[in-house]
């Protein structure tokens, strides 16, 4: 069975596509893919916003993002006339969290929560906060109804799955059952549980408080009490965003580099999306090295060796050798992608050739957008 080509232009032109989520493991060029797609979608007439998480500085500058804004800003384009409109924003995780607290609590309560040391820790360095806030921001942008198309980059995590799992993890941390149990099992009505676990639990609670520090646990407990009334609202919002991700208007693009690790992560993610009934649009393999001249590698090598033996035409010999190198790299990349497509038949694939140098302006993003649409 042949692998279908991923048609990104059809995807971004389709008015029913409202959200595109670019996911994949760290270092595969997700942000660049998201930005390039957004530029192209705007150029082709859609009112587009791209939500980036942690763009490289020069890419951020290319999008006119000099600092964290937390609100979309219009991108001034140069050198072409988009039929639509392009805006971009960089996620400010802390501010998004603060805004959520303000939205769900009265001024007094909000003040109390924001001042809590445990809140400060969890809103800036908890391992799932960035993912959770990316989801929250996506939910806000979608609810505003201002955009035809929202393109989301996902946090630079080790695993692509973190994006889907982190909100749940944060939810568990915030819902407070555990904190209540640890801080005061009796008060929390954890008797049933205590009976099961017995004295071990008291020991455990004691051990945890020794390790994490009694003060931290007390702060955590105070935070949870203050947060309790807001929690329902938080959970409701994250459930709604999760539903948005499963809806027909959303498309996931899994991004990978032609490397075993990145493609393995891509595989996990594709399986997970299927398990969650989330709509997969296809796989984007970034930075491939297609062969540009039809000349078999061994033939090039034989000729290079012949030239080198005679000691003339060093330039031609060098050209033959660099071509042979390129053939081996291309073959390896093809093998790796083929392994993926065998396991996931029918998943459309687009390959984006490596640019000889880094992309850091709109012209470069447009070029990548063209490569993407060419599949």
């Amino acid at each position: 069975m042949s692998t279908p080509a991923l048609k990104t232009d059809e995807l971004i032109d389709d008015p029913s596509t409202k959200v595109i989520v670019c996911c994949g493991s760290g270092g595969v060029g997700k942000t660049t893919t998201a930005a390039a797609l957004a530029v192209r979608a705007a150029e082709r007439g859609r009112k587009t916003v791209v939500l980036t998480i942690d763009p490289a500085r020069r890419l951020a500058q290319a999008l006119g993002l000099r600092e964290l804004g937390n609100q979309p800003r219009r991108v001034e384009v140069d050198g072409f006339e988009p039929e639509g409109d392009l805006s971009a924003m960089m996620l400010d995780m802390r501010r998004t969290f603060d805004d959520m607290v303000h939205a769900h609590a009265g001024p007094e309560k909000a003040k109390e929560v924001l001042a809590n040391p445990f809140y400060r820790t969890i809103s800036s360095s908890f391992s799932g906060t960035q993912e959770y806030m990316a989801m929250e921001k996506l939910g806000q942008l979608a609810a505003g109804g201002e955009w035809d198309l929202i393109i989301v980059d996902t946090p630079p995590s080790r695993s692509a799955l973190d994006f889907l799992d982190a909100p749940q993890r944060l939810s568990t941390a915030l819902d407070g059952r555990m904190i209540k149990l640890l801080a005061g099992p009796a008060k929390a009505g954890g008797w049933g549980l205590r009976k099961i676990v017995g004295a071990g639990f008291s020991l455990f609670a004691k051990a945890v408080s020794t390790i994490v520090g009694g003060q931290l646990l007390a702060d955590a407990s105070a935070f949870v009490q203050a947060f309790d009334s807001m929690f329902g609202g938080f959970r409701e919002r994250s459930t709604r965003t999760y539903e948005l991700l499963r809806s027909g208007g959303t498309a996931f693009l899994v991004v990978a580099a032609p490397e075993p690790d990145a493609l393995r992560e891509a595989s996990y993610f594709v399986e997970r999306l299927a398990g969650e009934s989330m709509p997969l649009a296809g796989l984007v393999v970034n930075r491939t090295h297609p062969v540009l001249a039809e000349l078999p590698g061994p033939e090039a090598l034989t000729a290079a060796e012949a030239l080198e033996r005679r000691g003339d035409s060093p330039l031609a010999a060098a050209v033959l050798r660099l071509h042979a190198d390129r053939v081996s790299v291309a073959q390896r990349e093809q093998r790796l992608v083929a392994r993926f497509t065998r396991a996931h038949q029918g998943v459309p694939v687009a390959r984006v050739p490596a640019m000889p140098s880094d992309v850091h302006d709109l012209a470069g993003l447009r070029q990548i957008g063209e490569q993407l649409s060419a599949g």
């Binding site: 020991l203 390790i211 520090g213 931290l216 035409s313 031609a316 390896r332």
Partner: protein
């Protein structure tokens, strides 16, 4: 590199950190030494690299090294480390397992961000300091496949941050030992990079950050170095798009290759891309030199990395002075 006993290997995502850590472990074990290769990120990268079953939370032999050396591997699991740790002070009995099932331990390690890292670095310290029956260190060296450059200083220095939380008790004594080891000459932090702009920038940032935190950068490990094919004098003009196609055609004809115009065009395009890359690589190399750290260079493995390639890279490291 010679003095360190704990080799921390970090790098930007996608630079081949795990591969370099494994090759370094084999290189250090060469000549009859015993080396532990440890990973802490729960992704079983070592098992995948050596093509074996997922590693348990136990040290087991994973490879032998030339000259009678041995590499053992350990997948450090934060939950297991926490239970391990608690059992030093408390008798949890079966409660430990129940708590684990409830997710209480996962919770405790996520409650205090950093607790997980404290446990992981604590376990590493224990393996570095462990002695055998003869009173000598059980491992001649420990190689840690560490978190990526963006998180490395936070990871290594978490114990110092947490030490303020636990002001007394066994935890304090334990964390002081970890801080001492990580800031001593026994520890070297090696940075894996590619000759590309972003990884090089991250490497230099990480070096500055390590210096600032009084941690010791070791070597820069440059991975996937590709051979420059063009004669040096042709690079600049080729990168600018000026390639003498007719000279190439003549040369190819001498070698008996009579190619169509479009094939020749393709070869020229490949040559231009190659030259641009060679230029970018030499700029990257110049930037790396600013760090003033010793560098190891490992070639790109065009056919991919398998166990044989790991041994090949270890040999190259030994040739470049790793021991």
């Amino acid at each position: 590199m010679a003095r360190a006993r704990l080799h921390v290997v970090t790098g930007k995502g996608g630079t081949g950190k795990t591969t370099m850590a494994a090759a370094l472990a084999i290189a250090l074990a060469t000549g009859g030494r015993r080396v532990l290769l440890a990973e802490v990120e729960g992704r079983q990268g070592i098992a995948q690299l050596f093509d074996t079953e997922p590693l348990p939370y136990a040290e087991q032999r994973i490879a032998s090294a030339p000259g009678g050396g041995e590499v053992r591997a350990l997948h450090v699991d934060a939950e297991a480390a926490l239970l391990d740790y608690l059992s030093m002070f408390y008798n949890l009995g079966i409660a430990g397992r129940t708590l684990r099932r409830m997710g209480a331990i996962d919770f405790a390690t996520t409650l205090a961000p950093g607790l997980r890292d404290v446990l992981l670095t604590g376990k590493i310290k224990e393996t570095v300091g462990r002695t055998g029956d003869n009173g000598r260190h059980l491992y001649d060296a420990v190689v840690l496949d560490a978190p990526p450059t963006g998180r490395i200083v936070k990871f290594l220095d978490v114990t110092r941050a947490m030490a303020d939380l636990a002001k007394v008790g066994p935890i304090k004594g334990q964390s002081e030992g970890v801080v001492r080891l990580l800031h001593s000459d026994d520890t070297a932090v090696h940075l894996v990079t590619l000759l590309e702009e972003m990884p090089v920038r991250e490497t230099l940032d990480a070096v500055a950050e390590l210096d600032g935190a009084d941690l010791r950068p070791g070597a820069v490990i440059v991975n996937r170095v590709r051979p420059p094919r063009l004669p040096a004098r042709s690079v600049t003009s080729a990168a600018g798009g000026r390639v003498d196609a007719s000279r190439i055609r003549t040369g190819l004809e001498t070698a008996g290759l009579d190619l169509d115009e479009d094939v020749l065009d393709g070869l020229v395009a490949e040559t231009v891309e190659h030259a641009i890359r060679v230029q970018a690589e030499s700029t990257a190399r110049e930037h790396l030199a600013e760090s003033d750290l010793p560098a190891l260079e490992l070639p790109e493995m065009t056919d991919g990395v398998d166990v044989a390639a790991l041994y090949e890279m270890a040999e190259i490291m030994v040739e470049q002075g790793v021991r």
